[in-house]
């Protein structure tokens, strides 16, 4: 499954997903992003996923919900999810919701790839 909202590449065993939208807000877009990410795990059996947020300037709790579901699906498949390149404002959203305790969050893609 492809999407013009996500750039998906392979780096060894790790699937690297870069968000292309500056804002992850619109319900339809979030639904589409969720479907693509879930399909990576459920249909393509990719279990090591890195999400790069470098382009993302704004996201809502609806987007966080999709990330939580993705994380659960990966854990069910003994997989790993790593988030990288979060801007300070976006990282603060994770801190306030304490989701920084749920997700592995690294500064950049290189650091993230080293976690797998």
């Amino acid at each position: 499954m492809s999407s013009n909202r996500l750039e998906i590449t392979e780096n060894g065993e790790v699937t690297v997903v870069r968000f292309l939208d500056r804002k992850i807000l619109d319900a339809g877009n979030i639904q589409e992003i969720g479907e693509v990410l879930f399909a990576l795990v459920e249909n393509e059996n990719r279990t090591q996923i890195l999400l790069n947020f470098a382009q993302v300037e704004f996201l809502s709790s609806a987007a966080l919900n999709k990330l939580i579901i993705l994380d659960k699906k990966l854990k069910d498949h003994n997989g790993n999810l790593v988030l990288t390149n979060l801007r300070p404002e976006i990282y603060e959203v994770f801190v306030i919701t304490r989701l920084n305790k749920v997700f592995k969050i690294l500064d950049d893609e290189l650091a993230g790839l080293n976690v797998f």
Binding site: L25, D26, S60, S61, A62, L64, N65, E89, R98
Partner: protein, 140 residues
Amino acid sequence: MTKESYCLWRHKESIASDLAEGSRLLNLMVEKLEAAGWASAQVFKIHLAAEEAMVNAIVHGNKSDMQKEVRTCFTLTGQTIRVEISDEGDGFCMEDIPDPTDESRLDEPNGRGVHLIKNYVTRARYNALGNQVVLEMDFK
């Protein structure tokens, strides 16, 4: 009247229960805040809080029923942005919303909107029924 309390912008509009309509109004608010010299970090916070409140009104309050309206009123002065959002739903009770940061609920995929609202604005007040919220953030 002090300079800070001058009304710089006021916008009152009722919209259908359509998220795109909600986004249009919030983008207008962001434009006005940026034009008034608000810092990007502050704009981010009120934008996120207002976005969560708008989604709550449209999706949870009005159940995305296009026949139902969401009433909004934005007031920007030299010192504060005030956002009022009301829906036609049955409302909710704050005490019924579990704390999403509770250790046992951290991986629950919902319930963070109200928490973000409370943490991101200077003041957030709900009416008794819970179908109207007033958000205020002070200029820094």
